[in-house]
């Protein structure tokens, strides 16, 4: 245990330092840091304004010293609502990606390690889930479970689980055939120990890259579902819901539409750049900015 943690800590430092050296990765790290900061401030409620407090007298005010990013049609502070909306989106994104990453990686590692019928069954299920356009599958799950942010998180997790399974399976196939895994098997180590100590650490890099890409897609999907009224429910602020509510008043107050829209775009770009940087840092041979 001590050897494991001692070895892991400097490696993580290395990774961040290597991402930081990559121009795109640095932007990604900064943007992601700012997002998390905004989300934490929103969740802790230490913002100068309450995101839910209505003030009819102050409705549709432009950006000012009191309201940095203006107010909406109910006089609510757009900055506070955007920060809180980022918090909502990140919460759903982190929850769904965590479920998908654990479930998908586990399935992928099992399929790749044991081959045989486990691989056949898991592979078939993955193929079938890939046969749905991603948003369509999310919509089908939400329509079965009902609206709400928890169900949106489950829907996104269902869509992303097969992707993690596929990402984890490939490298597991080659690791399972490696000398050190064979050596561990010959030594008679328990299968669980081989999987967690020998296989999983060696397939972690592509999974980690997938996590950042999945997070950006999850934020997009959470906002799209909320935009359709099927995700986060009002009055809880959510970026997608804010864009949807802004539609009829944006002509009078551009900031009501522009601020949450910009927040989504910046979040997605930031996480994608972080993913590119991570890909380059985790595998120096790969070139950044290649495929999607």
């Amino acid at each position: 245990m001590t050897a494991g943690t001692a070895a892991a800590a400097p490696r993580a430092d290395h990774l961040v330092a290597r991402i930081w050296r990559d121009g795109n990765g640095r932007i990604g790290l900064v943007v992601t840091g700012l997002l998390v900061l905004a989300a934490v401030l929103g969740v802790l409620g230490v913002l100068p304004h309450d995101p839910l407090a209505q003030a009819p007298a102050d409705r549709l005010q432009g950006p000012s010293a009191a309201h940095w990013l203006g107010t909406d049609q109910f006089g609510r502070d757009v900055a506070a609502r955007t920060a809180s909306g980022i918090g909502t989106s990140l919460r759903v994104a982190v929850l769904s990606v965590a479920i998908a990453c654990v479930a998908g990686s586990l399935l992928g590692v099992l399929a790749g390690f044991f081959r045989g019928w486990a691989d056949q069954v898991i592979g078939r299920v993955i193929d079938v889930l890939f046969a749905f356009p991603a948003l369509l599958l999310a919509l089908a799950v939400v329509s079965a479970l009902g609206s709400g942010w928890q169900n949106a998180a489950v829907a996104i997790a269902v869509v992303y689980t097969p992707i993690f399974a596929r990402v984890a399976r490939g490298p597991t196939l080659s690791v399972a055939r490696s000398e050190y895994v064979k050596a561990a098997q010959v030594l008679g180590l328990p299968v669980r120990r081989i999987l967690f100590r020998h296989v999983l650490p060696n397939v972690a890099a592509p999974i980690l890259v997938q996590v950042t890409l999945a997070l950006s897609w999850a934020i997009l999907t959470e906002s799209a579902l909320s935009f359709l009224g099927l995700g986060t429910q009002p009055p809880q602020p959510s970026l997608g819901l804010m864009v949807s509510e802004a539609r009829d008043i944006a002509a009078l107050a551009w900031w009501v539409l522009a601020i949450p829209a910009l927040a989504i775009v910046i979040a997605v770009i930031g996480l994608n750049l972080l993913g590119d940087g991570l890909r380059g840092a985790a595998d120096p041979r790969s070139r950044t900015g290649g495929d999607r």
């Binding site: 299920v125 046969a131 359709l228």
Partner: protein, 320 residues
């Protein structure tokens, strides 16, 4: 010979996948949401006596084992029977037949715009890697990929209302068969919104193909012969880059079908996406099932067609 065997195997796999798709739709939309009785009666179902409920379960067939229900449902599907809408009582097949042409037209328009723009920008960026035009195109592409359709769609709707006093959700839809100009004026903007993300993906693929092929020996030979740069780009590089671009276009076209849900909602177009969205809001499960099934089946068939076209276009894939 080998080509045909491959095609037969691929076709068999597709049939298996389609069967899996129906199973997933059955599990997600039939088993999870509880029973058809609650779906049909809503809150009134709580007032049923046990005997009444049993009678209704018998009538709907939900008292039978789920495997029998699934087989029964599959049988109906194979006969082309998708059931009746719970809200309007119309046949789901008829609703889909009316909505599908709108969505297909929208997707075709978007794909056409996206491919033309994407290839043009991809060649522009790929023919000068590292230069200003490459960086600018890559930056635009990054933004194009990150702007969600609902943000872009909402912005376009707001701008249209401001500039032309045009509101998509007032007024009725003009089908293609009625007036070409009227139809295109309604579909142009939603197609444009869908085309942005499509084009961004095509730019990325075209650029990377272009950069890779530009380093090949035959390109150096062509340049060495003193051929004009434009001729090398079009006749030598692009000619060899277009097979992967066609493949990507096919795959992207499938994804457009998912994106239309958002865009049809924003622009109030009576296509598959809007049909699905309304059905989800109304908890009209037969329509949700039918719409999801038809879109997913189309997606699978488009991917199959893309695969077949790819094999036919590129002789190298046939050798292996």
């Amino acid at each position: 010979m080998i080509g045909w065997r491959w095609a037969a195997a691929r076709l068999g796999g597709t049939v298996l996948t389609l069967f899996g798709v129906t199973a997933v739709v059955f599990i997600v939309l039939r088993l999870i949401p509880g029973d058809a009785i609650t779906a049909a009666l809503g809150i009134e179902s709580g007032a049923l006596t046990p005997a009444q409920r049993a009678a209704l379960e018998y009538q709907y067939g939900t008292d039978r084992p789920w495997i029998v229900q699934f087989a029964d449902w599959l049988g109906q599907l194979l006969r082309g029977d998708l059931g009746l809408s719970l809200t309007s009582g119309k046949s789901v097949g008829g609703l889909i037949a009316a909505a599908l042409p709108v969505t297909v037209e929208l997707a075709v328009l978007a794909a056409a715009m996206g491919t033309v723009t994407g290839v043009a920008l991809g060649v522009l960026a790929g023919s000068g890697p590292g230069r200003a035009r490459d960086s600018v195109t890559q930056g635009v592409t990054l933004v194009g990929l990150a702007v969600p359709e609902f943000v872009l769609g909402t912005t376009v709707v707001v701008l249209l209302a401001e500039a032309f006093g045009y509101f998509p959700d007032t007024g009725t839809f003009v089908p293609l068969t009625e007036s070409l100009a009227g139809n295109l004026s309604q579909l142009m903007y939603p197609a444009l919104v869908l085309a942005v993300g499509f084009a961004a993906n095509v730019v990325r693929a075209t650029r990377s193909e272009f950069v890779e092929i530009a380093e090949a020996d035959f390109v150096r030979t062509a340049r060495g012969k003193g051929l004009p740069a434009a001729r090398v780009r079009l006749a030598h590089i692009l000619r060899n880059a277009w097979v992967p671009i066609v493949t990507l276009t096919g795959i992207q076209f499938g994804y457009l079908l998912g994106g239309t849900v958002i865009v049809e909602h924003v622009f109030a177009l009576p296509g598959m996406g809007r049909l699905l969205y309304t059905a989800i809001s109304d908890r009209d499960y037969p329509v949700v099932q039918g719409a999801v099934l038809v879109i997913a089946a189309l997606f699978v068939l488009i991917n199959l067609a893309t695969d077949l076209v790819y094999r036919a276009l590129d002789p190298r894939t046939r050798a292996s």
